[in-house]
């Protein structure tokens, strides 16, 4: 019972440990009284920390402080951007009914779009990706140019959460800019992992979240270009320029800012170290399991992402066998009642259902080490062999 192996955490894309400095900031402020919206000294003191956090994040991402809208995290930021921009753009001109997005967006985007299509009569078009999971820019261009005036917005993620492929955001922005179409990007996996410069990117709205970069759960932001108007989802006290009402979670926001600042400052070094470790992981795993193969783009890729296919295995059998050895990873796909569904990302990349089911996602982070890779390499061979035997 007590011989449970030490945990080898290879699921940093799901969530990554909080930075000790962020834990310290958060716990320090948990005892503070003062609603940032109150006018007295305690309120002003809390407000000051929120505004300093906003400035810290703005500096790290190269946006204006007033462009940072604090939210409860990635899902809310995505919903706010998509629904808010669709409503405001459609209200301004009812002929704007189309929304274009990549076929491999996170469910926070895809399901929000599905809702807009079902309930708000949006015409959603999902743009294809190639076999490496990279957006088909020509299809995007053709789709827009068919009727540019009808496009309310475009949403393309900065980096894919499952297979780690970076998207050509610069090209997406260039295509949309010609027609004055706003671009939203879900950069939840990208901030701190690759360079993200809001102003230079030219995107109009950008989603980020705390717990993917060393901050706490339950806090995130939508960076929204100042000139854009957006219809709010939440109505109430009028916080965040009336875009997002709700009492500001000062301790979480302070810790979030600490984590963003650290992650962005350390990004170059993090990327170098993690890419090297990731490449080692892939090389050593494929040495043990020669027919294992990498999904996604080998170059334009998140540093920590190793998404591997193991032909002849059920991903969930493999996950269970590794879990029993203390090695934690993901099948990388959405669940329904805990049942892994074949990944919509892999299917969009042209994998068949079988290929989409035999994959595992290993993701490295700030705290990953060579020892984690050693443990995986030791366990993966027998696990794959056993999982193959379980297929009937």
């Amino acid at each position: 019972m007590d011989d449970a192996p030490q945990t080898v955490y290879l699921d940093h894309a799901a969530t990554t440990p909080m930075l000790p400095a962020a834990v310290e900031v958060m716990t320090t402020h948990l005892g503070d009284v003062g609603n940032p919206s109150s006018l007295h000294a305690s309120g002003r003191s809390a407000r000051r920390i929120v505004e300093e956090s906003r400035e810290t994040i703005a500096q790290a991402l190269n946006c204006r402080p007033g462009e940072v809208v604090f939210t409860s995290g990635g899902t809310e930021s995505d919903n706010l951007a998509l629904k808010g921009l669709f409503w405001s753009r459609h209200d301004a001109d009812p002929s704007r009914v189309r929304i274009l997005a990549s076929a491999i967006e996170h469910h926070a985007v895809l399901d929000a779009l599905h809702w807009l299509a079902e309930e708000e009569h949006a015409e959603v078009e999902l743009v294809a990706v190639d076999s490496r999971g990279r957006l088909d820019l020509e299809q995007l261009r053709a789709s827009i140019e068919r009727d540019p005036a009808s496009v309310a917005l475009v949403s393309v993620m900065w980096a894919n959460n499952e297979i780690g492929t970076l998207q050509p955001i610069e090209d997406v922005v260039a295509i949309c800019a010609t027609h004055g179409i706003p671009v939203h990007t879900d950069a939840v996996q990208a901030v701190g992992a690759v360079p993200v410069d809001f102003a230079a990117s030219g995107v109009d709205a950008l989603t980020l979240t705390g717990h993917k970069l060393g901050g706490p759960y339950g806090v995130g932001a939508l960076v929204l270009r100042r000139e854009l108007t957006l219809t709010p989802l939440l109505h109430g006290g009028g916080q965040e320029r009336d875009i997002r009402s709700g009492t500001l979670d000062m301790p979480a926001i302070a810790a979030f800012a600490t984590a963003v600042e650290h992650a962005v400052k350390c990004q170059p070094e993090y990327a170098e170290r993690t890419t090297a470790l990731r490449d080692t992981l892939i090389a050593r795993v494929t040495e043990v399991v020669p027919d294992a193969h990498v999904h996604g783009d080998l170059d334009d890729r998140l540093p920590g992402n190793a998404h591997l296919g193991f032909p002849g295995c059920e991903g969930d059998s493999l996950l269970m066998l590794l879990d029993a050895r203390g090695i934690e990873c993901s099948t990388g796909s959405a669940c329904s009642a805990g049942v892994p569904q074949p990944s919509h990302v892999l299917l969009a990349m042209g994998c068949d259902e079988e290929g989409a089911r035999h994959s595992l996602r290993f993701t490295l982070g700030r705290t990953s080490s060579e020892a984690d890779v050693d443990a995986l390499v030791e366990a993966i061979g027998p696990a794959v062999e056993r999982a193959r035997g379980a297929r009937s």
Partner: protein, 368 residues
Amino acid sequence: MKVVAAMSGGVDSAVAAARAHEAGHDVTGIHLALSRNPASYRSGARGCCTIEDANDARRAADVIGIPFYVWDLSDRFHEDVVEDFMDEYAAGRTPNPCLRCNERIKFAAVLDRALALGFDAVATGHYAQVRTGPDGTAELHRAVDGAKDQSYVLGVLTQEQLAHSIFPLGDTPKPQVREEATARGLLVADKPDSHDICFVADGDNAGWLREKLGERAPNHGGAIVDAATGEELGRHDGTFGFTIGQRKGLRLGRPAPDGKPRYVLDIEPVSGTVTVGARDELTVDRITADRPRWCGAAPQATLEGTVQLRAHGNEHRARVTVASTGVEIDLLDPAQGIAPGQAAVIYDDTRVVGSATIVATARVGAPA
């Protein structure tokens, strides 16, 4: 042993998993996702494939302190159990999908996968006992709680399957299992028992079949005929709405001349004719069954024992003759309302000898 505990989200399988864990086994909890479109919340009658049930199973595993996963067997379940259920009804028979599920899913697909993944056995919350017989083989016996005994639905298990099965509740009465669940802090302690067919969400079998059978059943509509006179007494919209021995729901306008209730005596799936008659016409004392499955070695040519003909049904003393194609059962205690498609499970005292699927019956006094 490394044990997979199948956890439905109900109280029995939760306590079974806890007992296996406490006995020192290395237990992993598994919830079987059997429905292709799991509903978020259970509706009306209890099923066992809702998301809520999966969550209940997960919380029980948390409390016990064992790992927990969901295994998706929905495709296998649909092919082997749901399709079979529909085929059987379309053919005018009355199948028992729980036996089929035990035979093909829980102690086959799940057990095979568990063994391949390095486990030694599957534990479930069934009320039955596995004992080691004098010759060292695994024997299946009735549970001590006669009212809850589920050895009938396990009568399809072979020696190989039994040797890898653990039923931790077989020695305990149900009320005690509920008390134990409470004492162990398992929040499912008060959950009602499940008793309907799990994939028929609202318990409306006929309604479900009417919707799903479609082209499979050639008998949408047919006559309800009096056995004695051959007179057409009414019409129906599908033989799948009937089972042998059924009295309710015939919706016949006129009472029988003798004023006594009428019962379904026979179902003819091709013509769609449902024959009804008096209760004593239902009494049978000879049964022919095929597809025998023996829990151990096949018995000698003739066996004096008992048979059970439906879940929670009575025991009937019987002489069972093993033939090349199946078994012939002579009932010393005649039975009523025996439907082809149901299983006859054969017992030697408390021990399950095997089972076979009923294909035909003969009324008392009918020539052999």
